[in-house]
Symmetry: C2
Subunit: 695 residues, 2 copies
Amino acid sequence: MTNYDKFTTDEFQNKINTIVSDLSDKDSIFKLSEIYDKSSDNEHIKIIEKHLSLLMKPYKNGSIGLAQINPIAGDIEYNAKKVVKYIIHAQNIGLDMVVFPELILMGYPIEDTIDRHPIIVEENVKWLKQIAKITTSTTAVVGFVEPRKYDHLTGKKYYNSVAILKDGKIQQIVRKSLLPTYSEFNDYRYIEPSPVVGCQPAITLGNFNKDNVQNCSKTTVVNGRKYGISICEDCWNNKEFFNDTILYSKDPIEELSKENPDVFINCSASPTRAKKEQLKHNMLSFISEKYSVPIVYVNQVGAIDNSSFDGSSRVFDKNGKLLARAKSFKEQFLIVNPEKDLGKIYPLTKGLEKTLTEQKIYTLEYEPDLERTYKTIIQGIRDYFNKTGFKRAVLGLSGGLDSTVCAVLLADAIGAENVFGVSMPSKITSSASKNDAALLAQNLKINFTEASIKDMVETTNNCLQKLFSTVEKSWDCRYKQSFTMDNIQARSRAMFLWGISNEFERCLPIATSDKSELYMGYATINGDMSGGFAPIADVPKTKLFALARWLNENREVKNAIPEAIILKKPGAELAINPKTGKPLIAEDALMPYEFLDEIIWRIENKKEHYSDMVNSEFLYEKKNTVTRETKLEWLDKFYRRMSTALYKWSILPPSVIVDSRSINKYDYKQPITSSRINYKGLDESEIEKKILALL
Amino acid sequence: MTNYDKFTTDEFQNKINTIVSDLSDKDSIFKLSEIYDKSSDNEHIKIIEKHLSLLMKPYKNGSIGLAQINPIAGDIEYNAKKVVKYIIHAQNIGLDMVVFPELILMGYPIEDTIDRHPIIVEENVKWLKQIAKITTSTTAVVGFVEPRKYDHLTGKKYYNSVAILKDGKIQQIVRKSLLPTYSEFNDYRYIEPSPVVGCQPAITLGNFNKDNVQNCSKTTVVNGRKYGISICEDCWNNKEFFNDTILYSKDPIEELSKENPDVFINCSASPTRAKKEQLKHNMLSFISEKYSVPIVYVNQVGAIDNSSFDGSSRVFDKNGKLLARAKSFKEQFLIVNPEKDLGKIYPLTKGLEKTLTEQKIYTLEYEPDLERTYKTIIQGIRDYFNKTGFKRAVLGLSGGLDSTVCAVLLADAIGAENVFGVSMPSKITSSASKNDAALLAQNLKINFTEASIKDMVETTNNCLQKLFSTVEKSWDCRYKQSFTMDNIQARSRAMFLWGISNEFERCLPIATSDKSELYMGYATINGDMSGGFAPIADVPKTKLFALARWLNENREVKNAIPEAIILKKPGAELAINPKTGKPLIAEDALMPYEFLDEIIWRIENKKEHYSDMVNSEFLYEKKNTVTRETKLEWLDKFYRRMSTALYKWSILPPSVIVDSRSINKYDYKQPITSSRINYKGLDESEIEKKILALL
């Protein structure tokens, strides 16, 4: 890829001239915009803008810039400066309009911070007002948290709003009506639903409520065109598309359509999750076709803690045909004109693209989701490090699949030179494992060393055995068999990693637990599940195998993961299986991963019960003979272990949500003390008997 | 206290006869009910019920039993059996009615469990239907999660409902209209607000929505009296009481009042928090007086994870006068008759009782809240252990305040014999600290031993120093000064405690971090902040000092906490202060605790900003000379440290919410990546300048 930043002004001018003369006008617009996205040199930007402004002349009327931004939650100055940058850019090339994602000045989500520290809301309003002053004839649509007057107030203290800025002033305000409050969304905790859809006059800023709804046009008129503006969830409630199963009784898009808008605009902050991209594509297409109105959807990009936003802002024409789509997982300024067929479609991640119009929403097929999974996690790691100020990562390399995939993801997210892999063998660790780890590190070009935990384990064990003998004198309840030795090993390793993190600047240790094992509580507290970040906590084991193969085929450096790592049966090498004399295999302690992952998938996606699963055939059963007894044993084990794993989920480090459902604590909450749920249920007659026995 | 359970049937009969002849009829009713609460012998219960049934004859018309239950979240069978027990009891003594807390069949909160595992909702409906069958002429008001039909549904999938059971049938259903979605409450995540207040016919069960609201009486008629029934938050929206600042536009109590009820009934699950008890008392009194209708408020008791419910169910007569109040923090069956002045007022915790009608909601005075704090935490610990199946606790005893108070609380919550205190001295630990710890353990009669961490620290340090030298070759960013050694000590101790927990049955290690230090991130990951439960995570240090003194004065065994522990300056004894040559005092590293705790209090309760605090005089400043420079330095340090402590809050073990606001992750959420918030803000002219600089 050409690095245009290194060119002198003259060289740059020449390059641009060549592009413009070689390519069609349309293609030039997008090529120049791509160069703009990577430019930091002001002179270069001036040159691009001069050309774009000329190229855009025929497309000016009805043109829109989609400003797909990666904000930092609560860092108003950082976000506002990005907004200013794109407003100026849109003005300089003479666009009609520039549109930003939902709540762009604040970043989404900000959660309860606005309640505990209301100053950040005051700040975002101050910035908004000052930004309005620099606007010219280009209309800017800017999301912000709007405070409502504090005293004598009915409802929550804030609106989730966008301001329409033009000619040095705030012209209008649009407020969100539908407030997602499920999964990772918590809008209703602090946001009041708007009693009205579409625009209200600027004068209502800060003191709007249901009693002073203005009887005005609900659209924004720009250059003779009417825009119907909505915010995120407002466009996700079409009764027909969702087959009569909807969350809210009101449909803002339906209401807006009655104002005969020329274009719908939707400002969003919609994180990526498995299967959601297909849904979003089809829904937006459906809406634009149904109302014969193009829709411009501008999405946030970047990760905020556990949520990874993919961007992929897009435009559908009035026939429901995709006209433009911004890049996934990248900041971008994309120019479109839905009226004049101006737009470029950047690809989604490969598998998604293929399945976009398929209705197979619920299958266990991983292939179409692997590139998205990879990019979602990469962005999640990178933004967590960048936004918290960390730069380096240290992780244990066991030669097993989990730490291997984590190492690859880290190397790609923050740079191989910033990753340190430490092989920490115990007396159980095989030399094959050590060699695999070393070879992986070499292939990835990450830093690597070996540090035995033997001394640590020995000393800890000596100290503990003495202590146990003492405790035993008072407490007559020592386990005959315990996992104490296994845990000492895992914790000694974590002690090393946290030590390095404490001793070296801006360095985080990594928790390598995967989703299948977290479901089973098969992870050591203060051991492998401890770290500053947990990259693969929402990826089940069987998908990790598929991802490992995908990485070997699709990364620039092929086959970085030694084949032996993918072929070996997962096992923590913490204990010896007395039956085989070899290290215990995880599947011996748990159950076949294919079966386990299918249980998880059935519970998460199909909301199946124990009895549903008893009575339906698993994919694993199609391929292997499983007695009914074994199947019941596995299902029982699953529910038993899951019930006691709830505490571990609650202390899991930040991680990226990848799947359509997860056990991430910001997505799914279950009381730890609800561990006695009877997941099998009882039938009516059993219940009746139990009640009669009490009489 | 007499243990009536040990009496033979004849002895018991005699005892009861004596009570009934010695006491007035009213007093006998309450005395017998108290004995009932502790009885497990069926013969005894029959005797009590026979007497109560006679004693209640003159009070029967309009009588109500308040069944203040401690449920287990999701354990439908356990909860339902308690409901059956109390229904039978109410029937046997001939009450008109028996009322249960909100969602009693499910336990509150259940969070997303009902969404991921819908079987528990099916189960709670099955149990409800079977329970209805055993009802007779005594009306039972039973809370449950009501599913809405799944397909072609508008809105959330569930209602938060109570069923009115009588004569073997479900008679009516009341559904919650106002859904708290703030702090620890998440009702709107899964519950649809009811479009109508009061009762709807039983036939609507499972398929009610806004289109089939029945035009029927909204009250429940029992024995000629009309009862207006509401659920928890439904009664918390009186515009007048809350001075025109309310969360919802609808007031269910106002609407119910139009049906001219004889009595209001409110089924609640309302956790205790500082200052809330006063508010609740005054609000309920206000409502009953305003409408000249008695109100019967039945609250859940017991803790579910981080929320501790105090019970204290109560009845106000139609003049707003308190007529009855159940015990705090105890299960109880309390009989009342608001019409006939039958009721007993059990005391609230002492300090609360004193401040009940005071309007000093926001002061930093700890005294009135100490007994409540103690009982809230005790119940939190006890229920967490009981409901998860744990029995024993192990904690480090440093001779410092935090571990000391934790040890006392644990001894009182789960029994001294189930607590093991381990003194784990390092070479920095003073002999005074060791002696204080030993003396404390002796006073508390908990198990105690000493285990040096010297070997662990030495081995770990040796291993790490080697490792650091290797890492340093690749990474040129080793800190000149680090906290690595401090952390190794804290982590070695946690390694011991988790080891004991792994080796002995049903044993949890305890995290001893306090609220002040958690705000400052002054706690070691995988060290002192690690554990299965964190008893004092919502108690600031200065309150802990007050609590320690209170414990010494108010526990049965006086002065269990050695005076030296209360007098010494807090410090972790992890490092030597180079200036003094003595162990570093926490206040040297942080700031005076009095000042720190006032910042926390101002942010949490008064929502003050940095600049508010700069400009107002702290209590600490009234007593000590603080230069402006020092004050700014402390404030800066506070915001800087708090911003980097967010991650630690996210991995904190379960703990009891005590204060009116907390940093518990189920109460307060702030993105970890929002660590760059500018808490000081900028003024408009600064913002303008920054924007102009971009043009």
